[in-house]
């Protein structure tokens, strides 16, 4: 669940009611949305029915796995709309089998949902009482999803956003094993998602597309069939060729789908979702909508605001004793990191943690290694107030900055005046950092088909990264950070048991996010960092313990801290160890090295 729940004032209830009226108007268009809504409804009902059958069958009955798989299949058919309407419950029903900490009550909810049930019936280590409880709660969640589908009429906006999310799920979650880490049904389920997309399409908007562009209709149907045939040709989770599937089979579908949306003329895209709906694939420069990831108070910055931010970013006068700028640690030539284990504070002593890259950092929902800040603005604020860093108060504007008189006009140009606090300084810097994005790596260019330079080893690396090494179940494609698709409402933190030194002898004593709630579950918990530009941003981990990607791979291959024999009872890695061969580890490293793009193109839309 999103721990950062922003609840909005009742002042706007009236506005909401007005919008509800619009909903009903939209449903009176010529498209038979009722078909699709019924399809989703029938399948969520079926998913519940099969869970009932599973309950009767028990945890280890001879048909348990069959009913589980049937229930999942039905769920996958209902998922686009069910989870669109209720992302939190949808994600919980089909999210990681990990306990959830409720920060409002301090309660720890036991793991529930399909992934926990999967563990129970495949591994048989769960008590009957717990298993029944898992079924009870999961059925309850499905009932909530069902009532959402019943209540809310499907309309073009809901339809196109929901389908976009489901296409994203296929390339990022289903084929990576995120959905089904134990049973590995995810590859087959991608087929179900595509088949149901076809059914929904044929029964809703196909007639419109046929009228306007018959060949687009044919190509789309054809591309879905080809993708399904490709999946059928190899259902094996370990060897499924995800690179080819995504590049040659899914990308054509997403390209078609964008055209279909435009051709239909049913919906004008919105600027409020994580996606740029006009991006033809999920591997473009503009796949993501920066506006969505930007705090509402700092959207649509002017070029002048960004330029001011850039100047401030490099200015040491921003810190109280004039020794530190943002660029002291985030050095452009070093991928906006610093290639140091840890950098130095304003008195020359080592800082607590390794400097992360700023490239693509805007696409996160929590910041710092321990994830304690919920926005880039809050993150920068805490650098100002940290007495080891800028050591100033956010509400106090530092006149030292104004020693450079060009700032006076710059501030007046951007904000109308020089404000008495640092909030405008922080906004400008945040706007600048939000431009430091790059999706022109070798990987991206190959995925887009702009070049064909991926070696067999790099392809293998991608396939293992996305497959049996389970890397992409935390480093989600294509951002490779921990911001969870397809809703991008939270950035995950994990406990992996990083050692104190590269000798792998003792557990690091940095407890990470634990400080916030003093909750054992959070001991050693850190945010999942991006792997983009990882080849140029060594050393690695929160404490910069590893200098090479080989060391990092070995750490995971051995099973993280738990595998090294440390006491890490709440480790969140979805495996005990990986058993990857040297060649396979090397292939993953080769793939990670294709994720480099430090040539920042300024593009702020």
């Amino acid at each position: 669940m999103n721990t950062f729940i922003k609840i909005l004032t009742s002042l706007f209830i009236i506005l909401v009611l007005t919008n509800c009226k619009n909903d009903t108007k939209e449903t009176t268009s010529i498209v038979n949305w009722k078909f699709a809504q019924n399809y989703y409804l029938e399948n969520i009902t079926l998913a519940i029915t099969y869970l009932d059958s599973l309950e009767t069958e028990g945890m280890d009955g001879k048909n348990s796995k069959k009913y589980f798989s049937l229930s999942r299949k039905a769920f996958k058919k209902a998922e686009p709309y069910a989870s669109y309407l209720n992302p939190e419950v949808g994600h919980r029903a089909n999210g990681p089998a990990l306990p959830v900490y409720k920060d409002d009550s301090g309660k720890i909810l036991k793991p529930i949902g399909y992934q926990k049930i999967e563990e129970s019936i495949y591994e048989n280590e769960t008590s009957v009482t717990d298993f029944e409880q898992e079924l009870y709660v999961t059925k309850g969640m499905l009932a909530v999803l069902k009532s959402g589908i019943e209540k809310r009429a499907l309309n073009p906006q809901r339809f196109f956003i929901a389908i976009h999310q489901q296409l994203f799920r296929i390339i990022s979650l289903a084929i990576s094993g995120f959905d089904t880490p134990v049973s590995h049904l995810g590859v087959q389920e991608s087929k179900i998602s595509l088949e149901s997309l076809k059914i929904i399409y044929i029964n809703t908007i196909q007639s419109i597309i046929k009228n306007k562009n018959e060949s687009l209709n044919e190509t789309f149907i054809n591309n879905i069939s080809k993708a399904i045939t490709f999946i059928d040709s190899n259902l094996d989770f370990d060897t499924f060729d995800r690179f080819t599937f995504t590049k040659d089979y899914m990308n054509p579908i997403t390209r078609n789908w964008g055209k279909i949306r435009k051709t239909s003329g049913l919906w004008e895209v919105v600027n409020t979702e994580p996606f740029n709906f006009d991006a033809p694939t999920f591997f473009e420069n503009n796949t993501f909508n920066l506006n969505y990831f930007t705090p509402a108070t700092n959207r649509n910055p002017t070029e002048k605001q960004i330029a001011l931010g850039e100047k401030l970013f490099f200015d040491k006068n921003i810190s109280t004793n004039g020794t530190m700028a943002c660029a002291t640690c985030h050095i452009p030539e070093n991928g906006y990191a610093d290639n140091m284990t840890v950098n130095f504070d304003n008195k020359g002593n080592p800082l607590q943690r390794n400097t992360p890259t700023l490239i693509n950092s805007a696409f996160q929902k929590s910041f710092f290694w321990d994830g304690r800040a919920h926005s880039l603005l809050d993150q920068i604020s805490l650098v100002f107030t940290n007495n080891k860093e800028f050591n100033t108060n956010v509400h106090e504007f530092s006149n030292n900055i104004l020693k450079d008189s060009t700032y006076i006009n710059a501030f007046k140009d951007v904000y109308g005046s020089i404000s008495g606090n640092n909030k405008d300084v922080i906004k400008a810097i945040a706007s600048y950092i939000s431009t430091l994005n790059g999706f022109n790596s070798k990987f991206d260019k190959n995925m887009r088909g702009e070049e064909d330079t991926f070696t067999e080893e790099e392809k293998l690396g991608y396939n293992i990264f996305m497959g049996k090494a389970l890397c992409a179940t935390c480093h989600f494609m294509p951002l490779t950070n921990g911001t969870v698709p397809p809703f991008f409402m939270e950035t995950e933190k994990e406990v992996i048991g990083v050692p104190e030194t590269a000798a792998n002898k003792t557990l690091d004593d940095d407890l990470g996010f634990y400080w916030k709630f003093n909750e054992a579950l959070h001991k050693g918990m850190f945010k999942t960092p991006t792997l983009r530009n990882v080849a140029v941003t060594a050393p690695y981990m929160h404490n910069g313990v590893y200098n090479t990607l080989e060391e990092v791979m070995e750490f995971y291959n051995l099973g993280g801290g738990g595998g090294l024999g440390f006491d890490v009872p709440h480790q969140t890695l979805p495996f005990d160890n990986l058993d990857l061969s040297d060649n396979e580890q090397q292939a993953i490293i080769s793939f990670m090295k294709t994720l480099t793009d430090e040539t920042i193109v300024k593009d702020y839309n």
């Binding site: 004032t9 409002d104 301090g106 959402g148 800040a373």
Partner: protein
């Protein structure tokens, strides 16, 4: 609209965002008083970089003729040592429930997630958040905890004025939730709820 659609729509029109609105109440006594709406916001806890660490209470004075117009005032804030530095109650931690009567605002804390080193309190202030005093502080009974460890994981729940219902002036009921008071005896459904609690009667509390 779904919850997320509402949030998206509100964000799109730059609606004011609060960290977590926990409770709402209105001034009693007359229809005119009832247009004064109060709500409590918990805050995000220390060291998160946001503008509201320790929590705030707001008063929304609605226009007599047009409910779309009103004036929003922050009347209580615990942010005395934070970015905003606009607090007036340095001890305040996570206001969670509020009870508004004709003359007072009663604010109940929930120090469950993060604390300022004291157990849950109820503060009494006037309707503008001034003259704050501590009305009650939850007594920690570590003997009720199966582990003996409690932290500050107890809170006051709702405080409700029942004077008119029972015909006795200045009578309230108050929920006590010492979250550490756990026992299998409290489990009554197949949900894993095993915490005990009490509802107590308060008499003589000014309205």
């Amino acid at each position: 609209m779904s919850k997320n659609e509402m949030e998206t729509a509100c964000t799109a029109v730059n609606a004011s965002q609060f960290i977590r609105v926990e409770d709402v109440d209105y001034q009693k006594g007359s229809d005119a008083n009832a247009r004064n709406v109060f709500f409590a916001v918990t805050g995000l806890g220390p060291n998160s970089g946001d503008v509201n660490d320790w929590g705030t209470v707001y008063k929304l004075k609605l226009d007599a003729t047009n409910p779309l117009i009103g004036k929003l005032t922050q009347i209580i804030s615990g942010n005395t040592d934070t970015n905003n530095n606009d607090g007036n109650l340095a001890a305040l931690q996570s206001p969670d429930n509020i009870c508004v009567t004709e003359n007072f605002v009663y604010t109940q804390e929930d120090p469950n997630s993060f604390s300022r080193g004291h157990a849950s309190r109820i503060y009494q202030t006037d309707l503008n958040g001034n003259n704050a005093s501590v009305l009650l502080e939850l007594k920690i009974e570590s003997n009720l905890s199966p582990t003996g460890s409690t932290g500050f994981s107890g809170e006051f729940g709702s405080l409700v004025d029942i004077s008119d219902k029972v015909g006795v002036p200045d009578t309230f009921i108050l929920a006590l939730q010492p979250h550490y008071w756990q026992s299998e005896d409290f489990v009554s459904t197949n949900l894993p709820h095993n915490q005990g609690g009490q509802i107590v009667l308060l008499q003589g509390l000014p309205r």
